[in-house]
């Protein structure tokens, strides 16, 4: 398991290659890449700043990945989340999961993203034309995470 919280950008292709390390047991890699959009809640977004809780962030992400590993037959997972100042089209987050078969890889990848959204201590502050604002948590994210409790 690799968990990284960093200001620097990352190379998606290189990260996925490193994750699979030519392991011939891997048949499937599901990945999710989150990007900064130039619009949110109907307002133009010029950029954003991501704050986090150092220490707890990594701990929360590790726990989420452990839960995914306990629940699905997966080999490994990678989570990279950026913090600091970001612009539209910038990469924010990468979650990637390797497994023998696709069903497990998809489910674990989406599970990790859904829990990251509701459990990992990151906060976004957006710059819009009417000033900076803290992004509100969305009920749809709570609901997405709750699906997995079934």
């Amino acid at each position: 398991m690799a968990i990284r919280v960093q200001q620097e950008d990352f190379d998606l292709g290189a990260e996925l290659l490193a994750l699979r390390q030519d392991n011939p047991k891997i048949g499937a890699i599901a990945s999710f890449l989150g990007l900064v959009r130039d619009i949110n809640e109907g307002d133009a977004v010029a950029g954003m700043s991501l704050e986090h809780y150092p220490g707890m962030t990594e701990k929360a992400l590790e726990r989420i990945v452990e839960q995914a590993k306990a629940r699905w037959d997966i080999f490994d997972a990678l989570v990279i989340h950026r913090v600091g100042d970001l612009q539209p089209t910038d990469q924010i987050v990468l979650v990637a999961v390797t497994s023998a078969h696709r069903g497990e890889a998809f489910a674990a990848c989406e599970f990790i993203m859904d829990y990251l959204k509701t459990e990992a201590p990151f906060w976004k502050r957006e710059q819009t034309s009417s000033g900076a604002r803290w992004v509100d948590a969305r009920e749809s994210d709570e609901n997405a995470a709750k699906r997995w409790e079934k």
Binding site: Y53, K59, H81, L116, E119, A120, P121, W123, D136
Partner: protein, 84 residues
């Protein structure tokens, strides 16, 4: 002594990012701590009022009002998270 951390919108609203306070002997859980902080009045009373959406972590694990606390703990108070 306990260490208190505040993040994001709450850090701004309360005007503090970290502080260390002595834990009064009668405060044994998170509910007791938030009552103590609310008694500061002003933004504290407002932001930490019942029904406001905030989260608390004790030693970097999510906690609730019943979670016990003790001297030496790191306790963080922050808004619902919005990463990803």
């Amino acid at each position: 002594m306990i260490t208190l951390l505040y993040f994001a919108r709450l850090r701004e609203a309360l005007g503090v990012s970290t502080e260390q306070i002595d834990l009064p002997p009668e405060v044994r859980d998170i509910a007791g701590l938030t009552a103590l902080l609310r008694a500061r009045g002003g933004a504290w009373e407002n932001e930490l009022a019942e029904g406001r959406a905030y989260r608390i972590a004790v030693n970097q694990d999510m906690a609730d009002g019943a979670t016990a606390i003790k001297t030496g703990d790191e306790i963080a108070i922050f808004p619902p998270v919005t990463g990803g």
